[in-house]
Amino acid sequence: MIDGFSFLQQELLIPVILGSLLVFLAFVFKEWNTRSSGRFLLNSVVAFVTVLALMCIVLEPTKEVEMQHQQGLLLTSGFAKEEQDSLERVYKGLEILEYNPKKSIRASLDSLTSVLVIGNGLEEFDFYKLDSIPTTYLPNEVPSGITRLKFTQQLNLGEDLIMEGKYDQPKKSSFLVLQDSRGNGLDSLQFSDASILDFSLKAVPKVSGNFVYQLAEKDSLGNRIETNPIPITIKEKEPVRILILNTFPTFETKYLKNFLADEGYKVTVRSQLTKGKYKFEYFNTKASPIYQFSLESLKQYDALIVDTETYFNFGKSVKSNFENSIRENGLGLFIQPSEKLFNLGAKTSYFSFKRDGRNVFQLPNANITVEKYPFRFNDAFAVHPINAHESGNLSYYKQLGLGRVASTTLLNSYQLLLKGEEQAYAKIWTQILDKIVKQKEQAVDWESQTEFPKEGEPFNFELRTNLEELSVVNNEGNCVPLLQNSTVPFKYSATTYPKKKGWNTLAVEGDSTTSFSYYVYDANSWQSLSASIKIAANKKQFGNDPKENRTVMVNRPISLILFYLLFLLGAGWLWLSPKLSAEN
């Protein structure tokens, strides 16, 4: 094709050329006997030009032209009509385009030199469509409602579901209620004034599984204004195997082991009776006395609870076995404190302490006091409080390789049980053990990259796995193509298009235990939140400073009048030519 030229009726090109050739040949054949007359050559040339003109009339040739000022206005959801009108007044000849993620606007974008976007903006997955066009985004104001939200989508049974967010311009004295999947209220708050408000709601789910909790907004009379879904996956914790080593039996250990054994966990307790003689107690596990602490024998436990005397009286090699198990296998170690622990140096005891002289401590959020050693933990590298959410921590852990070592300044916690505060006791020990126990290995780790998956829209996710040659199937049983990360070989990313609302699953083919559930939202849920997210993303992508227009090459059809004239002249000449020659 000649540069800059093309035909509108491209598809007719070959038949038209063939046809024209045929017409021309017929003319040559017809005029063959007049070749002696000398005009044959001239007539042939004229006929050729005429046929060519005819051909062009049919094919409608076009020519590329440079365009300088062809702006477009892209209207996205939530745009203001006034904004559109005023823009139209300022920029004459704006081409109005309406954005719909389900329809392509590519064709109409091609001829534009720049685009203005108003409204809440484009979906993130459509950004690429404007890649080549200078685009200016005039952002909407952030809508009223929830504009930021963070909640734990996956949690374990017994843990708190914590929702944090920001509410823009709430109606005065309206409520925000966190409800379970059937609308039983779990936590709520009332907006006292109408300004931006950060909120936090908390609940403890009662049952494991996939549930759609709800965040309802109610007016001051309790009428529902809006309800939005909060899909969460609640998992059960895995049982743990625990070894307790004591120099002598204590009440603390007695109650702790009962607490663990009552949960059905495998607990082994070894308390020394006298030199070389021990009292072994086995709960929910077969009796196998443990004397030597080799790496192998420690492997069968998820956490160790050892009192200060036992642990720090171990020989060097035994202790290094312990430390290696912690570092390499992720074993958890809890050191039951005694006065001795606080007097050891930080090098040996993992922690350093400071005397604070306080012997009692009031548990946060409860009117319960507990005894404690008059010490507190010093801050140090890799030493963290067990529960960072609560003030006045008594228990700390230290990261040691893959495992953790923890201790506490809490004294005689079993007295809580005697006082009837079973829940407080269970909470303290659950928090401590949860932090330190060896984590169970999971084959695949899924991570959703799309904040609000919607029906028919792309859902991006990442997965990390050590499996090789895996394939992921979606709800419909179709394979989802995976893109392996080139530098981190165990990391993959992929996109799927959910076909139904509600819970969808992804799973590694042939292994149902690795499945991952994600919730596909209704198009109407979380409107203000998704709008504000969209606005922010658009702002980031396009910016709102005016940009240089690009030059666009457009094929303009060449006026056909010229070809008509040429044809008329050619046909006229061919008609006239025999007459002239006859006269001669």
């Binding site: 009662k206 914790k237 949960e263 059905g264 107690e281 009796a287 053990l433 169970k440 990390r464």
Partner: protein, 744 residues
């Protein structure tokens, strides 16, 4: 009366009558229609009466009086020549012409009025009645308002036991209905309540009652059973109906099940069965303090008055009296059962019982104590409820005992004997007073001062029990200064004299101060030494928990009195000091006696020690000890949790109801029933919902939601339990964690 007027009156009567008849017809029509809709005579009767009243008020037939009648007649009978009004006027007042006209009209009307019918809408009313009847009939045939009819004709709808086919496919078949149901509750005989008959299947009765159900069906049924908390009890056929009798032992739920002749199974709703426990008697002791003290010379009688009440009747009540004698390890107890002055008639619901307890009659001596409480039984069968009152104490004070005896329980002698007892001080003081005339003034003063010091030492020692550091805050400051001033004066006046016989710890003022200081130091440095391990480590006397509240106040009083006693001794006035010393002694004795109760309460028998193997250091006989135990983790709400999960799927239509779900919901129902056992009413609806899911009558989205909501509410908070989390172990993260330590 004139003929004409009589005719007019007759016409008026006819008019009124017709109007009333019209009203009656309208009301009747309305009532008939109501009857067809509601099928209830009472309602249609009420509607009839209301309609009657309403139409009468609208029509107002009594308004047709003679004047309106005559106006009507004038308008409608030409022969009346607009003169019928004349008939109503007295003849005398009329002119002759009028009289003539009147006569004429009367003649004419007597003929014409018989033919004239008063204005009425009887036909219209009849049509309305007919229309109502036809409409009612059509409604009845088409059963447009069948629901209304059902609701209205079953005023005790909630009470009537309804049955639903468990298999909805066969639901079209004939449903046998209950014709009569009779539930008889027979209360236990001791309650003297007899029995009641009710139709309400939700039963609430005293525990131990017998409940009898009698059901009559309108069609023959097969194998009717009573399902009570999963336990099936067949009904006995008695005559035409069925009956069953069960004792009410625990709260719970029940339902009926049967099959009809075609073999379709039917089940009723769930009903609650609430057993109200028989409360034990309540005993109140009136106007008696918990501790009563007697001196030996007093009249030692305790007047005991009590009020005993029970919800159904008292069976028996008596006093248990325990006499304790002796102190320390030689304490002995003697128990006696005493009856009240009044005889208790069995079955009284409330009574007053009195008794005078004569301590002498109980052979109590000085220092002995009497503990007594009242025990009462009610008539509950098979096992009587028993209630006990609080324990009261009566003590004969013993002023002879010598030592403060807390050591009896603690096993450690906390009383070093370097200081004299209060009794010893009294004896010494008395001796000093006796000796006063015979000894020199110096010696007298010296001894008095010495006794003062001993008194101080004793006070400080007792102060330690209170947790005091050294001095009492309550000590009157000016007295102290006064005392010191006095001392000072003495020191100045008789300096030389005093030096000779003063003990060095108390004579010299400066020295005294130093000594005091030393003493304080001593108390500061090791005040807790003898007691530290046995006391709670509380510095504040108010928080000392060694003694109960009354003891503490007593000890405090004793200490203040000791101050006074010491003061007078130091002032060389032992006579004035003596009453204070006696008072102090009295308090200390009381404290000591109160402490004895602990022997009874927390006595401990240590196991015998094998003396031959003790402290030998032999460990060859000691062996490892093994203990193996398996405990099932208790998950009392496992099925409910599973059901909640399953319902979430059903609500979101992620899967359909499967056959094995039935077992799950049955299990969840049983768990919920256990949870609801104390309060069957609370979860009844959720249970009914579960049942209807189970038997395929309520497998609707609505019901799923309702049941799930109820189950979520019923579930207690999830217990805190530790556990491991599933985590993907990332190679890069692991490397990072390991590297962290390198730079630690």
């Amino acid at each position: 009366m004139e003929q004409g007027k009589i005719h007019l009156m007759k016409f008026q009567k006819r008019w009124q009558l017709l109007s009333y008849a019209e009203v009656l017809l309208y009301a009747l029509g309305l009532a008939v229609l109501c009857y067809f809709i509601a099928k209830n005579v009472v309602i249609s009767l009420v509607v009839f009466l209301i309609g009657l009243l309403l139409f009468i008020l609208i029509k107002k037939p009594w308004q047709h009086n003679l004047f309106s009648t005559s106006t009507y007649v004038d308008a409608h009978v030409s022969e009346a020549s607009f003169s019928s009004g004349l008939l109503l006027q007295p003849e005398d007042s009329l002119s002759n012409l009028a009289k003539l006209q009147r006569y004429k009209v009367a003649q004419e009307l007597s003929v014409k009025l018989g033919l004239l019918t008063p204005p009425n809408a009887i036909k219209q009313a009849l049509l309305v009645l007919l229309g109502c009847i036809i409409l009612g009939f059509v409604i009845d045939k088409l059963q447009v308002f069948s629901g209304v009819d059902q609701i209205l004709n079953n005023p005790n709808n909630s009470e009537q036991i309804q049955f639903i086919a468990t298999d909805s496919l066969k639901g079209k078949s004939l449903v046998p209905k209950i014709e009569t149901q009779e539930i008889k509750v027979l209360y236990p005989s001791y309650t003297r309540l007899g029995g009641t008959t009710t139709t309400d299947p939700n039963i609430k009765a005293v525990k131990g009652s017998t409940v009898q159900w009698k059901l009559h069906f309108d069609h023959p049924v097969n194998d009717p059973v009573l399902d009570i908390m999963g336990e099936l009890k067949p009904l006995r056929k008695v005559g035409l109906g069925y009956q069953i009798q069960l004792p009410l032992t625990t709260s719970g739920f029940y339902s009926f099940k049967f099959k009809n002749e075609e073999g379709t199974a039917f089940t009723s709703d769930l009903f609650s069965l609430e057993a109200i426990p028989d409360n034990p008697p309540e005993i109140e002791i009136l106007g008696l303090v918990q501790y009563t003290y007697f001196d030996f010379s007093d009249k030692k009688v305790v007047e005991l008055q009590s009020a005993i009440t029970d919800d159904f009747g008292i069976d028996e009540s008596y006093i248990i009296a325990t006499v304790s004698k002796g102190t320390g390890e030689s304490v002995k107890f003697r128990e006696e059962k005493l009856s009240f002055k009044e005889t208790i008639s069995k079955g009284t619901k409330s009574m007053r019982a009195t008794k005078s307890l004569d301590l002498d009659a109980l052979k109590m001596e000085m220092g002995d104590e009497l503990y007594f409480y009242i025990e009462a039984f009610d008539e509950k069968q098979p096992k009587r409820n028993v209630a006990r009152s609080e324990t009261y104490f009566a003590v004969i004070k013993d002023t002879v005992g010598e030592q403060f005896g807390v050591e009896g329980t603690l096993g450690v002698d906390q009383m070093p004997d370097y200081f004299r007892s209060q009794r010893q001080l009294i004896i010494d003081t008395e001796k000093l007073i006796k000796d006063k005339p015979t000894i020199s003034i110096q010696e007298f003063k010296s001894r008095s001062n010495e006794l003062g010091f001993d008194q101080k030492a004793l006070r400080l020692k007792y102060g330690q029990f209170m947790g005091d550091e050294s001095e009492m805050e309550e000590a009157p400051a000016e007295i102290e200064s006064h005392e010191e001033g006095e001392d000072h004066d003495h020191a100045e006046d008789q300096e030389s004299m005093l030096k000779e016989f003063m003990h060095d710890h108390d004579g010299d003022n400066e020295h005294n101060l130093v000594e005091q200081h030393e003493h304080e130091n001593e108390n500061d440095s090791e005040p807790e030494d003898p007691l530290h391990d046995y006391l709670h480590n509380h510095d504040d006397p108010e928080e000392s928990t060694l003694f109960e509240e009354s003891l503490k106040t007593k000890l405090r009083k004793a200490l203040s009195i000791m101050w006074d006693a010491e003061l007078y001794l130091r002032l060389y006035e032992p006579e004035k000091s003596l009453p204070f010393q006696y008072d102090a002694l009295k308090f200390i004795q009381e404290i000591k006696n109160s402490a004895r109760i602990y022997v009874h309460r927390i006595g401990f028998d240590p196991p015998p020690i094998k003396e031959d193997s003790r402290l030998t250091g032999e460990i060859k006989d000691i062996k490892n000890y093994n203990k193996n135990e398996s405990k099932e983790a208790e998950q009392p709400f496992e099925a409910i949790e599973e059901a909640v999960r399953r319902l979430e799927q059903l609500v979101h239509k992620e899967s359909d109801y499967k056959e094995n779900d039935t077992a799950l919901f049955t299990a969840a129902g049983n768990e919920l029933a256990q949870l609801a056992i104390d309060n069957p009413g609370k979860h009844l609806q959720v249970l009914q919902g579960l049942k209807s899911i189970e038997n395929n009558t309520g497998r609707t989205l609505e019901n799923y939601r309702f049941v799930q909501k109820g189950l979520l509410l019923a579930l207690p908070d999830s217990p805190q339990k530790p556990g491991a989390k599933k985590m993907y172990v990332d190679k890069i993260n692991s490397l990072f964690l390991k590297q962290l330590e390198v730079y630690d």
